[in-house]
Symmetry: C2
């Protein structure tokens, strides 16, 4: 199988190296735009890959939605299978790209887009063939987990912890997508699409870690608890819920042991019960290993992870009741049994009135 | 695909129910020996399944080595694919059965035999196609984990904790296979066969939990640590190591959060890094869900998890150096950097002299 790669950054280089060592796979061309070509396999125009008859599969590791979407469409239209680690692309255009792949009878896989090396999308995709997935979620963003655990374990304040994450390459210069919870939310959208054939795009609730502070870190630590940022989705009679928010867990919980930039993803099947998976959620070789897993699956004839039934839907978080720890203008309190929708709306209202608000779900 | 089942106990019934609900699968006959037939699909002779032309796959859920091995051989020779959750059978005759399946070009899968619902063998099998597995292991026996955590969390002594495990159905009337570490060792043998194409059958080191006591539980608890029974295997330049022993972990470690009858399996790939998986390691539906995953794989054409290269080998634990906590005749001490082989031999020698010995690896 001949594979061309779009992008030659951290992940792209890892994928290239792993393909060179893998049995039955051959690296063909690499789109290095806007980098200059320094090797014979490098090209600077997408047309050289789209029109390359020898390329069977295209791996996209550029990131971002445009031109990744246009490139993906062109490759699929040319009858090439498409594998990507790009969660932004899939959460926005996954359904359209899957339809295109189905039309051309080629493969379209993206298990590297959630959880990095952790085979969570792969396992859910396999499990859902013979089991019913009820809910899934996890600690899905290494940057925020690094910041949170650095603040709680080492007493750093938010700015220090963020700047350290940036120095170590865990956080980008503009960390908004991570710290706002958006990156976690996109991964939740992918989990939902694979688990429930439903891509939730509206009525999502998303709270990040920007309002987490040393005061809260000290407060939970004194009570032998710990804060993590988690995403959740599930299927109930009322529909699909999907949200992201900080969560307080007891220090004996598995989640409390997930520190630094490690991810922890989980799903619950009607028959399998709870399955939790931990590992590197990002990085060159961990992410490349997930791409290679997808390439293996292409060889074995796997076509899709979401199927033709997957639709964009409105989420409904109004039926999910949680208890919360609140920290409003320097005062700690707690609230029992309030819906996710209401909690997120209340925080928004308070902030509009000028209050400083942090809230976190109490995990029972 | 038509599936017949050998055994209609806890797992067999779960598999039967799940097949009845699964798309593309049909339950055909169930061998209920020595139970009496009460339903039309039940048979009491293996020949009725071996000679049944409509049966494509046979699932074995009887347990034990004989007559499971003879039945498996007969089914494979008759050209039927074979799926089993029987770790004793595979650790003893896995290589022979795989050869038979290969000869007949049918599938032979056993991912339910290690970790129950946890897809650890499945994930290693997939990962090893494009990554190199370096080592694997975990908390692989729910019975001993239940006893250990019940002793450490609730202050029970060994006898009380064991009898409670028996009452709850977690431990058998004769708990030897579990508490001696043998069950964990068999799972380590399977992990090694899938990860390294090497089934270690000699020079294995295996220490169970029979010598764990309330005194040790109190000692480690005071030091904010916890004891778990773990299996380990890996590939080094010297060969394959494979052993089972109690391990002391800090209470902040993931393993410390694995309580009651939950399993935790992990593997480390050269590229993926460390991947940990937790979930139900036993029970009707969890184990059945793993069998159904294998049945799905049979439909997709997956033939084997170990391949023709897999050989029985002698393990070598003499190059693996660990530090240990010792409790000999009422005295606690520790020993640094001693080989696994030497530690297990020393304990044996001391016991032969009449000493009461407990030891546990310090996980750094």
């Amino acid at each position: 199988m001949n594979i061309s790669i779009l992008g030659f950054g951290t992940v792209g280089r890892g994928v290239y190296e792993m393909i060179c060592k893998a049995e039955g796979m051959k690296a063909r061309k690499v789109l290095v735009l806007p980098v200059e070509c320094t090797e014979s396999f490098m090209v600077t125009s997408i047309d050289e890959i789209v029109n390359d008859k020898e390329t069977d599969v295209v791996v996209e590791c550029m990131g971002g939605i445009h031109p990744a979407f246009e490139f993906a469409s062109a490759c699929l239209k040319a009858g090439k299978s498409f594998v990507t680690s790009n969660k932004a692309l899939i959460s926005e255009f996954g359904i359209e790209l899957e339809a295109l792949a189905r039309e051309k009878n080629v493969s379209f896989l993206f298990s590297a887009a959630c959880g990095g090396a952790i085979p969570v999308l792969h396992n859910i995709s396999v499990a859902s063939q013979t089991d019913t997935i009820i809910r899934c979620g996890g600690i899905l963003n290494g940057t925020t987990n690094f910041i949170l655990t650095n603040m709680q374990d080492n007493g750093k304040d938010y700015k220090e912890a963020l700047s350290e994450a940036q120095k170590l390459g865990y956080a980008e210069a503009d960390p908004t997508a991570d710290v706002s919870g958006m990156d976690t939310l996109r991964k939740v959208m992918l989990l939902s699409s694979v688990s429930f054939s439903s891509l939730p795009t509206e009525n999502l609730c998303c709270e990040g870690i920007e309002n987490f502070s040393k005061e809260v870190a000290d407060y939970v630590k004194e009570r032998d608890m710990s804060v993590r940022l988690m995403g959740f989705c599930g299927k109930t009679e009322a529909g699909i819920y999907a949200y992201v928010e900080p969560v307080v867990v007891p220090s004996s919980a598995v989640e409390a042991s997930i520190s630094s930039n490690i991810n922890f993803a989980w799903y619950e099947g009607e028959n399998s019960g709870f399955i939790g998976l931990m590992g590197q959620g990002a990085g060159r070789y961990p992410t490349a290993s997930a791409v290679l897993r997808d390439l293996s699956a292409v060889i074995e004839g796997k076509k899709s992870m979401i199927g033709p039934c997957c639709k964009k839907i409105k989420a409904d978080n109004s039926g999910i009741l949680n208890s919360y720890l609140l920290y409003i203008d320097g005062v700690f309190s707690s609230i029992e049994s309030i819906s996710v929708t209401e909690m997120h709306e209340k925080a928004k209202e308070l902030r509009e009135k000028g209050s400083k608000v942090f809230f976190a779900q109490y995990k029972i």
